[in-house]
C-alpha cells in the first residue's frame, strides 16, 4: 500500500521541489497540494493523507494552527526556511523538519523516518496543542485560538475570550456570549496564555482578568467572580490567591 502524501506550501516553486523529489519514490503518492492553511485543514479531513509536508508560514492559518485543527493521525514533515521553531517543534512531535533549501539525500532521510514512523501503531503521532506551545518562544503567548467546528474554522483573538471552561476532554471557549468547543487540556491552554491576562481561578476555569466585574464570597473558602456579561464562575481558594498575586503586580 502506498503512502498518501499532501503538500502544503504557498509557494509554487517550493511545491515543485517536493513533487520532483517525490516523483522517484514508488511507494509515495501525492494526493493533493494546498497553498493556504484553510485549504490544508479541509484537504486533510477530505483526503485523509498519511503524510503531510507542511510549511510554517502560510496564508490564513500557519502550519502549527493547521496541526491544532487536525484530528486524524498523520506523519508531519515541516518544510520551512525558518529555523527558530525547529528544535522545539521537532522534539515535540514532528517526524522531521526540513530547512529550505534541502537536497535529495536530506529529503530521503526524512522519508526514511516517515516510513519508520508510519510502520508504528498510530499512538502518539502528534499532540497538536503541546506542539503549539513548544513552538511559542519563551515570553511570547498565543495571540489567537483556532477552533474547528465541522468544516468551519473559527479564529478567536485571545483578547476576545471571556473565560474558558474545561468539560471532560474539551475546552469551552466563551467569547461575546458564544461558546466553542475544542479538544485540549486546560493546563496546556493555561501555559500558552499570558499569565498577566489569564488566570486559572479554578480547576476547570481560566478567566480573562479584564472581564471580571466583581468578586463575591460564596462559602467560607470559595468565591464567585461575576463577569461583565453577568456570567458567574467559581474561584477556588488557590485560584483566589493566584488572582490576588497577579492583580497586585503593576
Amino acid at each position: 500500500m502506498s503512502i498518501r502524501a499532501l503538500i502544503a506550501d504557498d509557494e509554487e516553486l517550493a511545491r515543485q521541489i517536493l513533487r520532483e523529489y517525490l516523483a522517484n519514490q514508488s511507494d509515495i503518492e501525492i494526493v493533493g497540494e494546498c497553498d493556504n492553511g484553510f485549504a490544508t485543514v479541509k484537504a486533510i479531513s477530505d483526503l485523509k493523507p498519511d503524510l503531510l509536508f507542511l510549511d510554517v508560514q502560510m496564508p490564513k492559518l500557519d502550519g502549527f494552527e493547521v496541526l491544532e485543527l487536525v484530528d486524524t493521525h498523520l506523519a508531519v514533515v515541516f518544510v520551512t526556511a525558518y529555523d527558530q521553531y525547529a528544535t522545539k517543534a521537532f522534539d515535540a512531535a514532528a517526524v522531521d523538519y526540513l530547512l529550505k533549501p534541502f537536497d535529495l539525500p536530506r529529503f530521503e532521510t526524512a522519508l526514511h523516518r516517515v516510513r519508520q514512523r508510519l510502520a508504528l501503531p498510530p499512538t502518539t503521532t502528534l499532540a497538536p496543542a503541546e506542539l503549539r506551545n513548544a513552538a511559542l518562544p519563551p515570553g511570547r503567548y498565543a495571540e489567537r485560538i483556532v477552533i474547528r467546528d465541522g468544516a468551519r474554522v473559527h479564529i478567536v483573538p485571545v483578547a476576545q475570550i471571556d473565560y474558558v471552561e474545561a468539560q471532560d476532554d474539551y475546552l469551552a471557549f466563551h467569547s461575546a456570549g458564544k461558546s466553542n468547543l475544542k479538544q485540549q487540556t486546560i493546563s496546556s491552554l493555561e501555559e500558552s496564555l499570558d499569565p498577566k491576562q489569564f488566570v486559572r481561578v479554578h480547576r476547570s476555569f481560566v478567566v480573562n482578568l479584564d472581564r471580571i466585574r466583581k468578586i463575591e464570597a460564596y462559602t467560607k473558602d470559595t468565591r464567585i467572580a461575576i463577569l461583565t456579561d453577568g456570567a458567574k464562575i467559581p474561584i477556588s481558594r488557590a485560584g483566589y490567591l493566584k488572582l490576588k498575586e497577579v492583580m497586585a503586580q503593576p
Binding site: D35, K60, A81, Y82
Partner: protein, 346 residues
C-alpha cells in the same frame, strides 16, 4: 560653531535673559553713581549689549578646558584671567560712551565715576556666570552627540542585516528552478547577487540618490517576482525628478520588503504592490501600498523594519521628515516624506 549662534530662537532667548541682568546692572550703578534713570538707561543699555556679546566667548575656552580632565586650579585661573580681560574690554569702552553722551548731558562723566567700580565687579561676576552656563551647554551638547553616535552604530548593525529568510526562500526557489527552468535559475542567482552586493555596498554610505534606492528595491522585487510568480504584481508611478534627491541608504527596500512579507505573502491569490514617488512643496513623497489579510496568522510582529526606518529619519531630519502608516480594511499604505535635497556638486 557656538551652539547659541546656531539658531535664532536660542540667540533670542540668550539676549532676553540679559534683560533682567541689564536691569540689575542699572540698579546697582544708579545707586552708586549720581544718575537719574534716563541717564542710567543710556549708559547701561549699550554696556549690557556689549557684555552679552563678550559673554559668548567662554564657549571656546570651555571647550579647551573640559571640567573632567583639567585640574581645578587651572580652570579657575584661566577663567578668572579671561573674565578680567572680558570685563576690561567692556570697561574700556565706557569712557568713550560717556564722552559721547556728554554732548547731551554735560556732567555725566563725573556723575558716573563712582559707579565704575561696581560696574567692573559686576561685569567680572557676570562673565564667570556665563562660564558656568557654557559648561552646562557643553554637557547638553555632548550628551546629544553621544546619542547620535550610538544611533549611528545601531544603524550600521542593522544595515548589515539582510533578512535570512528571504535568502533561504530565494535559494529554495533557485533549487526548484534548476531542473524545470535552468535559465531562470541562473537569472535568479544573478538578481540575488545584485541585490546582496548592492545592499552591502549601500550600508557603507551615509546618503544616496533616491534613484539608486529605487534600483535596489527593484532588484529585490525581481527576486521576489520569481519566487511568488503571478501572486506578485507591481505597479509604479515614479516621477524621475525624484531620482536626484539625497536620502539615507536602505530606506525604500525595507518598505517594499514589508509589503511583500506581511501583505502579498499573506494572500493566497497574491496582490499588487504600488510604488509612487512625487515631489510636492519641496519634499519627496514616496508611498508603498498593498493589500493584506487582516486575519492572517501573526508572525513575529511586523513594524520592526518600519520602526528602524522611522528612527533613522528622525535622527537625520528631525521633524522635517515623516513616516505615516495608514491601515484600513485590509489595505496598507506607508507614506514617506523627506525634504528634497540634492547633493552639492563639487
Amino acid at each position: 560653531m557656538h551652539p547659541l549662534l546656531q539658531n535664532r530662537n536660542s540667540l533670542l532667548a540668550y539676549f532676553s535673559a540679559w534683560v533682567p541682568l541689564g536691569a540689575m546692572l542699572g540698579v546697582a550703578t544708579s545707586g552708586a553713581g549720581h544718575l537719574d534713570w534716563r541717564a542710567t538707561l543710556a549708559v547701561i543699555t549699550p554696556v549690557t549689549l556689549l557684555l552679552a556679546l563678550v559673554c559668548l566667548s567662554p564657549w571656546y575656552l570651555c571647550r579647551g578646558l573640559p571640567l573632567n580632565t583639567t585640574p581645578h586650579w587651572k580652570v579657575l585661573a584661566y577663567h578668572c584671567v579671561a573674565a578680567m580681560l572680558g570685563s576690561s574690554l567692556v570697561l574700556f569702552m565706557v569712557p568713550f560712551l560717556l564722552e559721547l553722551l556728554a554732548h547731551f548731558r554735560p556732567r555725566i562723566e563725573t556723575q558716573f565715576e563712582p559707579a565704575m567700580r561696581v560696574l567692573a565687579g559686576m561685569c567680572f561676576l557676570f562673565f564667570l556666570l556665563s562660564v558656568a552656563l557654557h559648561y552646562m551647554l557643553q554637557a547638553v551638547e555632548s550628551s546629544r552627540q553621544a546619542e547620535v553616535l550610538s544611533r549611528e552604530a545601531e544603524l550600521k548593525a542593522l544595515k548589515a542585516q539582510v533578512n535570512p529568510h528571504f535568502l533561504f526562500n530565494s535559494l529554495n526557489s533557485i533549487s526548484a528552478l534548476t531542473t524545470i527552468d535552468p535559465a531562470k535559475a541562473r537569472e535568479m542567482c544573478v538578481r540575488l547577487s545584485d541585490f546582496l552586493r548592492n545592499s552591502l555596498r549601500m550600508g557603507e554610505r551615509t546618503s544616496i540618490p533616491f534613484g539608486e534606492e529605487l534600483a535596489l528595491a527593484h532588484t529585490y522585487l525581481d527576486v521576489e517576482q520569481i519566487r511568488f510568480g503571478k501572486r506578485l504584481r507591481v505597479r509604479q508611478d515614479l516621477d524621475p525628478a525624484c531620482n536626484d534627491c539625497e536620502v539615507p541608504p536602505l530606506l525604500v527596500q525595507p518598505l517594499v520588503e514589508n509589503a511583500i512579507k506581511h501583505g502579498i505573502a499573506s494572500l493566497t491569490q497574491g496582490g499588487e504592490v504600488s510604488l509612487a514617488a512625487h515631489i510636492s512643496n519641496g519634499a519627496l513623497r514616496f508611498s508603498v501600498e498593498n493589500r493584506f489579510d487582516p486575519d492572517a496568522p501573526s508572525q513575529r510582529k511586523s513594524g520592526f523594519g518600519l520602526l528602524n526606518v522611522r528612527s533613522r529619519l528622525n535622527a537625520r531630519y528631525g521633524s522635517a521628515a515623516h513616516l505615516d502608516i495608514q491601515v484600513s480594511d485590509g489595505h496598507y499604505r506607508v507614506l514617506l516624506s523627506v525634504p528634497f535635497t540634492k547633493e552639492v556638486k563639487k
